[in-house]
C-alpha cells in the first residue's frame, strides 16, 4: 500500500506539480522526480549537510523533510543559483579558491553558505565556521571552503566602496559634461 499526495511547490523559481509518496523525502523527490541531482544524499540522517537546500529561504537537510511537507513552499537548490547559464558570485568564489576537491559536499556547502550570506552578507571567519558547522567535507578541505565564502562576501566596506565608486563616476560624468559645454 502506498499513499500518494499532490505536491505543488515553487522550485528554483518555477512552479512544479508532481505526485509524491508519503514516504518520499524532499531529497528523493528533487533527485528522482524532478531530476535535480545537484543535492546529494550521503548520511541520510541529518549529520552531514550534503543535501542542504533552502526551504522558504532557510537552510534545511532535504533528507529530513518529507516531500509532502513542502507543498506550497519555495525551494531553492544548487541548480537555482545560476542566472542565464552564469554561476553566482558565491559559486565562482568556490572555483577561484580551489575549494572543490572531490566535490560531493560542495552543493550542500554552497547552499548553507548562501543561507548564511542572505542573512549576514559580511560574516567574520568565525561566523562562516558556525554557518557551515552542519556540513561535513570528507576531503577535509574546510579552509578553502571558508576562504571561498569570505571571498564571495567581499570586504565589509562594500557599501562605502560602492558609494566611493559612485562619487568617482559622478565626477567623471561632470567633467565630461563640463568639457562638452565649454
Amino acid at each position: 500500500m502506498t499513499y500518494r499526495y499532490p505536491l505543488r511547490a515553487t522550485i528554483n523559481g518555477t512552479l512544479r506539480s508532481i505526485d509524491v509518496s508519503s514516504t518520499q523525502t524532499l531529497l528523493d523527490a528533487l533527485r528522482w522526480d524532478l531530476g535535480l541531482t545537484g543535492s546529494k544524499e550521503c548520511c541520510a540522517e541529518g549529520e552531514c549537510g550534503a543535501c542542504t537546500v533552502l526551504v522558504g529561504g532557510q537552510a534545511v537537510n532535504a533528507c529530513l523533510v518529507l516531500a509532502v511537507e513542502v507543498d506550497g513552499l519555495e525551494i531553492t537548490t544548487i541548480e537555482g543559483l545560476e542566472t542565464g547559464g552564469r554561476l553566482s558570485r558565491l559559486q565562482d568564489a568556490f572555483l577561484e579558491t580551489g575549494a572543490i576537491q572531490c566535490g560531493f559536499c560542495i552543493p550542500g556547502m554552497v547552499m548553507a553558505a548562501q543561507a548564511l550570506l542572505d542573512e549576514n552578507p559580511h560574516p567574520r571567519p568565525d561566523e562562516v565556521r558556525d554557518g557551515l558547522a552542519g556540513n561535513l567535507c570528507r576531503c577535509g578541505g574546510y579552509q578553502r571552503i571558508i576562504d571561498a565564502v569570505l571571498l564571495a562576501a567581499g570586504p565589509e566596506v562594500t557599501d562605502e566602496a560602492a558609494e566611493q565608486q559612485a562619487t568617482v563616476q559622478q565626477a567623471t560624468v561632470q567633467q565630461a559634461t563640463e568639457g562638452l559645454s565649454a
Binding site: Y5, S21, S22, G46, A59, N61, L64, V65, A115, G134
Partner: protein
C-alpha cells in the same frame, strides 16, 4: 520507510477528529521531523498515520510573552526560540541549550516541543526546561491540561501524552529576582553530535539547581537549598561535599559515547564549572541596570 498516510489538519478540531478515527494505533505528529524521519527511515517507527501540525489556523508558530510567563507554541522552531531576544534575557540557559541541538539546518526545522516529545534521555533542551520549571501544555477535545516537564518525560521515548492528546505549547514561568544560568555539555566532537552528558545550572539568591541530561533514564533535577553553593564566598570543602552529593545521584549507563564511570567523573567537573559561571553571571546581572517593564 513503511507506508503511512499523511494528514494536514487545518484546525485543532480536525486534529482531534483524526486522532479519534485513527484509534489507539500508532500515530505520529510531525513538526520539524528531524527525529521522526530518522526513526521512519530505519523503521524503528512504523506509524500508520503521520499528522503534520504546521498548518492549523488555531495553532500558529510563535512566542507570546505575558507578565507571568512565556509561551512557545508547539510548532515553533528552535531557530525562532534562539532568535527571540526576550527569551535570551530571561532564560539564557535554554538558548544555550537550543544552540547545541544538531546544526543550523536541524534547528531551522526542529521544534522545542518536539525535542521534549521525543523524550530522549539526552535531549539537549530538557535540562534547561527542567531547570526553568517549564510546563507542557497538552490539549485534547476534553480541554487543556498542564504538566510539569519533569512529569511529562517518563523514560526513554516515553511521555505522559495520551493517544487522544497533542502538545500545543511549552510555558516558562518568568524567574523572579536575580539569577544566573549556565548550560554545559560534553560531546565527543564539537558540532553535530549527541550529548555524552549535559546539564543546566541555575543560581538564584539562595537556591542552586542542577538539571541533568543523559545521566539517567530521564532528565532529572537536584536542588541545593542550603545556600552554600549560591554563596561565592562559601566554604570550599562544604561546597565540594554538596557537589559530590548532587552528582552522585546520576545513574549513567555505558554506551557508544562514553562509559558510565567516565560520565560519573565528568558530571562533577562540568557541574563545578557551570556553577562558577552561573554565579558570575548572576552577580554581574544583579549589578547591571534592570530592564524596565520586562
Amino acid at each position: 520507510m513503511k507506508a503511512f498516510a499523511y494528514a494536514r489538519p487545518r484546525s485543532l478540531d480536525e486534529t482531534y477528529d483524526l486522532l479519534d478515527e485513527a484509534g489507539p494505533g500508532d500515530v505520529r505528529m510531525i513538526v520539524g521531523g528531524t527525529d521522526l524521519i530518522v526513526g521512519l527511515q530505519g523503521e524503528r517507527l512504523t506509524p500508520r498515520l503521520v499528522i503534520d501540525l504546521k498548518h492549523m489556523h488555531d495553532l500558529p508558530a510563535g512566542i507570546t510573552h505575558t507578565p507571568e510567563r512565556v509561551s512557545v507554541s508547539a510548532v515553533t522552531s528552535l531557530s525562532e526560540v534562539i532568535a527571540d531576544e526576550r527569551i535570551g534575557a530571561l532564560f539564557p540557559g535554554l538558548v544555550e541549550a537550543a544552540q547545541t541541538v544538531g546544526s543550523i539546518q536541524i534547528r531551522n526545522r526542529a521544534s522545542l516541543a518536539g525535542n521534549v516529545c521525543n523524550a530522549s534521555p539526552a535531549a539537549d533542551t530538557a535540562p534547561a526546561l527542567l531547570a526553568y520549571d517549564a510546563v507542557v501544555v497538552i490539549a485534547s477535545r476534553a480541554g487543556a491540561r498542564r504538566v510539569h516537564v519533569g512529569d511529562f518525560i517518563l523514560g526513554p521515548r516515553r511521555t505522559a501524552l495520551a493517544p487522544d492528546e497533542i502538545v500545543i505549547a511549552l510555558e516558562l514561568p518568568k524567574p523572579g529576582g536575580p539569577s544566573g544560568a549556565k548550560f554545559a555539555r560534553l560531546t565527543r566532537r564539537r558540532g553535530v553530535d549527541l550529548a555524552t552528558l549535559s546539564l543546566c545550572c541555575t543560581v538564584g539568591p539562595r537556591r542552586t539547581r542542577f538539571a541533568f541530561g543523559a545521566l539517567a533514564p530521564r532528565p532529572f533535577v537536584v536542588d541545593d537549598d542550603s545556600g552554600v553553593l549560591a554563596d561565592p564566598a562559601g566554604n570550599e570543602l562544604t561546597r565540594e561535599r554538596i557537589l559530590h552529593e548532587i552528582t552522585d545521584q546520576a545513574r549513567p549507563i555505558s554506551d557508544l559515547r562514553a562509559r558510565a564511570d567516565y560520565r560519573q567523573a565528568m558530571v562533577l567537573v562540568l557541574s563545578r564549572r557551570a556553577l562558577r559561571s552561573a554565579l558570575i553571571l548572576r552577580d554581574t546581572a544583579s549589578t547591571a541596570p534592570t530592564e524596565g517593564g520586562a
